[in-house]
């Protein structure tokens, strides 16, 4: 089945490790995909004011592009893009008056009625590929690696676009288990990392992110796995600030779910782009011989 693929801006620069590992996994899993032509930034956050339709235009324009491509399903990797696009899609499906206003405003584009289905790759793996089929393709199981799956906010909230139960999700656990990893459950797995407050209130974002990492580490996690480049910034890159600021802070390897997938599928190490992760990530994987089975 052919799907359209929406990357998102950061996946073309800082989160190239998310994109490259995912695209390699698409191929390995036989997922035929095509990146949208002429896509624009979706806006990253969904507008929450009832009268604010101008901020719906960006995600809807992308949905129009997906419709033009003719694939019924549009797969996203970044969970913030997923949330924004999926919510805009719900609006275009169900809110007739707003839909008409947006379609009329975008008079240079064909009308859109919510025809495309927006899917996050994690749900796609579960529902379209299936855990059983995925397991059969695992070449180097992650045996022994203790992984704390971090959902963050936008995959689970609000309910109408949640890929799993907002308060007790299991999808990410199933994913890690399928790849042969040991799952470390931790209560903070659905707690916000501070998101865009990295910009508005960086100290507050740093503290909540530090608490999340501490929770995972205190339960024995070797690494944190996530789905979003902004979470990766707050929980990954900003560990340098944590190590300076908080006593007892530890360097925690952080990686994208698609990198984990690529490793388990035995894909080339190059597609994982570990140079974009904390250096502790590749060190950990090497020490567990998880990069050994990987084709160099």
């Amino acid at each position: 089945m052919k799907v359209s693929y929406y990357p998102g801006c950061t996946l073309k620069t800082r989160a190239k490790n998310l994109e490259d590992s995912a695209l390699a996994a698409f191929k390995a899993l036989g997922i035929e995909y095509q990146e949208l032509d002429r896509w624009n930034c979706c806006g990253a956050v969904f507008s929450l004011a009832d009268d604010d339709l101008i901020h719906m235009v960006a995600p809807v324009r992308d949905l129009v592009r997906a419709k033009q491509l003719g694939a019924g399903t549009m797969v996203t990797l970044c969970s913030m893009c997923y949330n924004t696009l999926a919510r805009a899609n719900e609006l275009m499906k169900h809110e007739e008056v707003k839909r008409k206003t947006i379609n009329d405003f975008m008079n240079e584009e064909p009308d859109y009625f919510g025809e495309v289905e927006v899917v996050h790759f994690l749900s796609y793996l579960k529902n379209q590929i299936g855990w059983g089929a995925l397991k059969s393709k695992v070449q180097s199981p992650l045996g022994g690696l203790k992984i704390a799956p971090y959902y963050g906010c936008t995959l689970l909230r609000p309910k109408d676009v949640a890929i799993d139960h907002p308060d007790s999700p299991t999808l990410f656990r199933e994913f890690v288990e399928t790849l042969g990893g040991e799952v470390i459950e931790f209560p903070s797995s659905t707690v916000c990392c501070g998101s865009y407050q990295a910009l508005g209130n960086p100290e507050a974002a740093l503290k909540v992110s530090f608490d999340i990492l501490s929770d995972a580490v205190s339960r024995g996690a070797d690494a944190l796995v996530l789905t979003c480049p902004l979470c990766d910034y707050n929980l990954g890159r900003r560990q340098d600030d944590m190590l300076r600021k908080y006593e007892g802070a530890k360097d925690v390897p952080v990686l994208y779910f698609t990198q984990l997938l690529a490793i388990a599928l035995g894909l080339s190490q190059e597609v994982c782009r570990f140079e974009l992760n904390r250096s502790s990530t590749a060190r950990l994987l090497k020490s567990r011989n998880l990069l050994a089975g990987v084709k160099a």
């Binding site: 998102g8 801006c9 950061t10 620069t13 800082r14 989160a15 930034c41 806006g43 990253a44 956050v45 507008s47 929450l48 004011a49 009832d50 009268d51 604010d52 901020h55 970044c78 913030m80 906010c153 689970l156 909230r157 609000p158 309910k159 907002p166 308060d167 659905t190 707690v191 916000c192 501070g194 998101s195 865009y196 407050q197 990295a198 910009l199 508005g200 209130n201 100290e203 507050a204 974002a205 503290k207 909540v208 979003c228 480049p229 902004l230 990766d232 910034y233 890159r237």
Partner: protein, 135 residues
């Protein structure tokens, strides 16, 4: 601090404006405090969402305009999914932000950001941060 409630202190216009922007009915809130208990930014906000709902019910515009809460809120939607009264508090926070932003007053000033700061942030942070905190 005692709150004096009278018609004089109650700004119904402001109440109606926030209600209209957010599409939420504050009067449905029965002050259980689940939102406050769920807020990941609890240590960093000066006023819990439960109290904000109370202030909105009373139309206390002055107190509401000085809070840092809407500006520390990260729109994580935890309060929203847990509210037993089905109020989308995230939308209320957005409405409170917009009452300021729509007067052309930014909370974050892109022109004043240092180049090193911008270069360190991924695009996704700049886009989402500007969306929420610039007019």
């Amino acid at each position: 601090m005692a709150l004096v409630i009278s018609r004089r202190t109650s700004d119904t216009k402001f109440h109606d404006r926030v209600s209209e922007l957010s599409g939420q009915e504050f009067m449905k809130c029965f002050q259980c405090g689940t939102c406050s208990g769920s807020c990941p930014m609890g240590d960093h906000i000066d006023t819990f969402p439960r109290k904000i709902m109370a202030l909105l019910q009373l139309g206390r515009m002055e107190e509401l305009s000085e809070l840092n809460t809407p500006w520390v809120c990260a729109s994580c939607h935890t309060c929203m999914v847990r509210c037993p009264r089905g109020i989308d508090i995230t939308k209320v926070m957005e409405a409170l932000r917009l009452t300021r932003l729509r007067q052309n007053v930014n909370y974050v000033e892109p022109s004043n950001m240092q180049p090193e700061e911008i270069i360190d942030l991924p695009q996704i942070a700049l886009v989402s941060g500007f969306r929420k905190m610039t007019s």
